[in-house]
């Protein structure tokens, strides 16, 4: 096997490769962008009505079609946050395996917030799409 002479271009390529792989892995197993989990929870509750924490987490994962790496526990701080803001309410009820679980539902203020956030999110996405797709 011939030894490859030292060349700057090779090291450049290696660096590029490493960077790309990191970027790819991030893209494939996306963490939840900051601030969007709240919106997801609100949307889920708006669609499904009364739900417990597991139900919400499962629904979000299903909707993302495995495109999302979610530590399901992380929705609990989000649920507390939303309840403190008065956008969701909660009550105790029986789960499908007949254990006592806390069920969450969206409030009127929550619906209003959801509508506002959805609109703003759509605007952002549309704007980003235009920006990224536009040809030089």
């Amino acid at each position: 096997m011939n030894s490859v002479p030292y060349d700057n271009s090779w090291s450049f390529l290696l660096t590029f490769y490493r960077t790309r792989s990191i970027l790819l892995s991030m893209a494939n197993r996306a963490e939840i962008p900051y601030g969007t989990l709240d919106l997801m929870v609100l949307k889920t509750l708006d669609t499904l009505g009364l739900q417990h924490g597991y139900g919400i987490a499962r629904r979000i994962e299903q909707a993302a079609e495995s495109g999302l790496e979610l530590n399901q526990g992380t929705i609990y701080p989000a649920l507390l946050r939303l309840e403190q803001k008065g956008w969701i309410a909660s009550e105790w009820g029986a789960s499908e395996n007949n254990r006592k679980a806390r069920f969450y539902s969206i409030t009127r203020a929550g619906r209003k917030q959801l509508a506002a956030e959805t609109a703003s999110w759509s605007r952002t996405v549309a704007m980003m799409a235009r920006l990224l797709e536009s040809e030089p």
Binding site: Q72, G73, P77, L80, Q84, N97, A101
Partner: protein, 884 residues
């Protein structure tokens, strides 16, 4: 809105408890595991997979907790628990710190409590802010006014909502008879509108009305709540009873509320009498005498009238009424209005200055305590370098570390403040008891919210002073160095520099305190060891209060000969004398003084003392020329007088005064001339600071006057004669009231209360500051030695002499001490200037005391430094080098 809702729900911890979250997690995990099981995993694997999928539970709890409550409170609670744990682990440090703070804060709070009662607090009456005192100034000095002047002023003025007159002069030392043994009471005579203008109602019965001012009104009394309690155990049947005050029978008609103490701070009358009784309790009609000035005037401003407007309105009114009160041709008079919201500030005049000096001293002590504590905290932070390093390395924020250390300091301050509250209350009481030994002052010292606020504010300020710098130093720590170090080198330079600054501050404060203490102690020594002009040793004094009623004056005047004979017959008495208005007697009787060649000069007055034979012999005042007053000076013999040195010098210069004539009047009149038969040594009459002035001693036999004191020179301990003397009084006349019987030296010492208190407290605080400084210097040098152990080891290993090493350290000590002494000298000179007017027999340029204080301080600092430096010299080089 949302933000507020979040804040509130967090503040009250709404949301979930730890247990609730745990239950939610359990359900969640069960459901998730069931899901995995359905996908074909074994129960154990399913549970493991569910756990993985759920994520870290502990961290979730952590986040959740942070969100559930306000993070700040949570962190604070954590810090608090940690701080308490730390302090429990170091009880010695905690005790030292708390004690230092308690002393520092407590001393300040005690002074503040007394200052508040004496200087700041408003009278407990309706709307005290609108009360004013109407003062007549004679050459700038406030003087009393006559009753006719008051009557016309009250009738004609338009700017006040009421104007009343008050005087405690005739009833200051009144005697209550007819209810068991005779008792001394304090009374005050007031115009009928007194209570109405002040807005004070009776808690039982009624207060005076304008009707009680009518000359024909029957004599009535209003009692203070304290007196009602003392004399009648709060029995309502007291109303309607007849009390005999100085021989006057008067009916009790009411009791004032408990918080009311009259219009003068510090003098708390037991009872009040209306003006209509004046002719019964004073010799002569003072209500129609323009020449008798004895009243203080207080009034309430009309709404919308300012004190200045009222003053301007009263000035022309005074000029038209000037003939109705005392007016001397060579004086300048004017009316001044002064706020009386705090009453007549009699106590402030007497105790204000000493209290402010004490406030200054305790303030310095607190500064001292703070800098000492700061050094302690620095040392502790150094000892904990590694711990703090580990916490920084594990990701604790620097602000969090600083906050934690500050919390510890706050805990110390809180404990110190709590102890200070106890100390302050006890200290304030003690101060008042001390101040009231000389005279009957009474002050209410109830704890008020202001006192608590003062303690809290002082504690917070102290915390800032002693805790901020060490906390900052700790937060600046370099993690790597901290973790590597064994000796605590890291952050050392800053810590060391800070510690040195603190020591210099301590040294300078200490010098200021020492110099102040030296001056005050020296002044007290001067006061005590001056020539009083009499010899108080072995002299017993029995006081007979001057009862100002015509009957009692006649009665007590007649006691002269019987008392004189009886007292001289007591076994163990070398000599005895009776006098009126003599040495250490509160009442001053004055007259003018003139000779044929020299009429009275403006501003001159003389003290007039009526004495029996053997007076000078008994009290030990030397007769410098001529003779004593003797039994031969009878009522029908030529009128004679003994004058003091100062009078002799002023009236006759170098000429021999014996045989010359003087007149106790403005101009010489030969018909009532007195022949000078002797010259007596000058005497400090009322108190050790009393200027000598002119004194006339006249024989009681030729100038009858009520006896106010009996003096006895004992063969041995005078105090043992007291019961015999009291019995002798009773033998002579059972109706006479004898006040205190005590050695004359006690009266003299009682007059030195303020000076003694200042000297004692400043000396104690000075000693304390010296001890703190010694500890501080030792600590800083010991720390330097520890820091430089390696360097010293190398020096020793390379052959440096041990003496040279300790010299190296002592060089440090000298530098610090000299810096501190120079700064302190500035402070001490400032203190000297502030104290100058209070010092007795003090030469302004006398710096010998300051030098002595500085020398003492340097000596102590050097000793403490040497103690620490010795350790450096004794280091074993091998061991020192082995240490990292």
């Amino acid at each position: 809105m949302t933000a507020l809702r979040v804040f509130l729900s967090r503040l009250f911890g709404r949301g979930r408890t730890h247990a609730e979250l745990e239950r939610e997690i359990a359900v969640h995990l069960a459901l998730l595991a069931a899901d995995y099981q359905r996908r074909g995993l074994s129960p154990a694997d399913a549970l493991a997979a569910a756990r993985r999928h759920f994520g870290p539970v502990t961290q979730l709890h952590e986040t959740y907790r942070g969100q559930r409550r306000l993070a700040f409170f949570d962190a604070f609670a954590q810090d608090l628990a940690y701080a308490l744990r730390q302090l429990r682990r170091n009880p010695g440090f905690a005790a030292a710190a708390v004690l230092t703070l308690a002393l520092g804060i407590g001393a300040n709070a005690a002074i503040y409590q007394v200052l508040d009662a004496v200087v700041f607090r408003s009278l407990p009456v309706r709307d005290p802010a609108s009360l004013v005192q109407i003062q007549l100034l004679e050459n700038g000095q406030p003087i009393h006014v006559s009753y006719p002047f008051y009557r016309e002023l009250a009738a004609r003025q338009q700017v006040l909502d009421g104007l009343f007159a008050v005087s405690d002069f005739p009833l200051r030392q009144a005697v209550l008879r007819g209810r068991g043994s005779f008792r001394a009471v304090k009374g005050s005579i007031v115009t009928g509108n007194y209570f109405r203008v002040l807005g004070v109602n009776a808690r039982a019965g009624r207060v005076f009305t304008a009707d009680d001012d009518r000359p024909a009104a029957s004599p009535v009394i209003v009692l203070s709540d304290a007196f009602w309690n003392r004399e009648f155990s709060r029995n309502p049947a007291a109303l309607g009873q007849v009390l005999e005050i100085n021989g006057l029978a008067a009916t009790v008609i009411g009791v004032t509320p408990p918080e009311f103490f009259g219009e003068t701070v510090g003098t708390v009358p037991d009872l009040w009498l209306p003006m209509s009784v004046q002719s019964h309790i004073m010799p002569g009609d003072y209500l129609d005498a323009p020449s008798s000035s004895w009243l203080s005037l207080l009034g309430r401003l009309r709404p919308g009238v300012s004190a200045r407007q009222a003053e301007a309105a009263l000035a022309p009114l005074y000029r038209s009424l000037a003939g109705l009160t005392v007016q001397r041709p060579d004086r300048d008079y004017r009316v001044q209005l002064q706020s009386a919201s705090r009453g007549i500030a009699e106590m402030e005049r007497r105790f204000g200055r000493p209290l402010w000096v004490l406030a200054g001293i305790t303030g310095l002590v607190l500064l001292m305590a703070c800098s000492n504590l700061a050094n302690l905290m620095l040392a502790r932070a150094t000892a904990r370098t590694q711990e703090i390093g580990v916490r920084l390395a594990l990701g604790a924020g620097r602000s969090r570390i600083a906050r934690q250390l500050l919390t510890e300091s706050l805990v110390l301050s809180a404990l110190g403040a709590a102890a200070a509250l106890v100390l302050a209350t006890a200290g304030a009481r003690w101060l008042v008891v001390w101040a009231s030994t000389a005279s009957d002052w009474r002050l209410s010292l109830a704890i008020e919210w202001r006192h608590l606020a003062f303690i809290a504010a002082t504690a917070v300020a102290a915390t800032c002073l002693f805790a901020l710098a060490p906390a900052w130093a700790a937060a600046r720590l370099d993690v790597h160095a901290a973790l590597q170090s064994i000796q605590g080198h890291s952050g050392g330079r800053f810590r060391n520099r800070l510690g040195r600054c603190l020591i210099v501050a301590q040294l300078s404060i200490s010098l200021t305190l020492l110099a102040a203490a030296a001056l005050l102690v020296h002044s007290l020594w001067n006061l005590r060891h001056q020539d009083f002009g009499f010899d108080a040793g072995r002299v017993l004094m029995a006081e007979v209060p001057l009862e100002f009623t015509p009957t009692m004056i006649r009665h007590n005047t007649a006691l002269r000969q019987p008392l004189y004979d009886r007292m001289n017959a007591i076994p163990g008495v070398r000599s005895a004398a009776v006098d009126s208005f003599g040495v250490m007697d509160g009442t001053v009787y004055t007259c003018f003084l003139s000779t044929p060649e020299r009429p009275r000069q403006p501003g001159e007055w003389a003290r007039r003392v009526h004495v029996s034979p053997r007076y000078f012999e008994t009290i030990g005042t030397p007769i410098l020329a001529g003779r004593d007053i003797t039994e031969a000076d009878r009522a029908d013999s030529p009128k004679v007088v003994v004058i003091n040195q100062t009078a002799a010098r002023a009236l006759f210069g170098r000429a021999n005064p014996i045989g010359r004539f003087i007149s106790a009047d403005k101009t010489f009149a030969s018909k009532d001339a007195l022949q000078v038969v002797g010259v007596a040594h000058d005497v400090r009459f009322l108190n050790p600071r009393d200027p000598f002035g002119f004194v006339l001693y006249v024989p009681l036999a030729q100038n009858p006057a009520p006896i106010t004191a009996v003096l006895l020179r004992a063969a041995s301990d005078p105090a043992r004669l007291a019961p015999t003397v009291r019995a002798a009084f009773h033998d002579v006349d059972p109706a006479v009231f004898v006040g205190a019987i005590h050695p004359l030296s006690e009266s003299v010492e009682a007059q030195l209360g303020n000076e003694r208190l200042l000297a004692l407290l400043s000396a104690c605080f000075g000693a304390l500051s010296l001890a703190l400084t010694a500890v501080g210097v030792y600590g800083v040098i010991a720390y330097t030695v520890q820091r430089r152990t390696r360097e010293i080891g190398i020096r020793l290993a390379l052959g440096a002499e041990r003496a040279a090493v300790s010299r190296l350290m002592m060089h440090d000590v000298a530098l610090l001490s000299l810096a501190g002494t120079f700064l302190g000298a500035a402070g001490a000179i400032a203190a000297t200037r502030a104290l100058r007017t209070m010092l007795f027999a003090f030469a302004p340029a006398d710096y010998s005391l300051l030098l002595a204080a500085a020398a003492l301080l340097l000596l102590i600092a050097a000793a403490a430094g040497y103690w620490a430096a010795r350790r450096a010299a004794r280091l074993d080089p091998m061991n020192a080098l082995r240490q990292q």
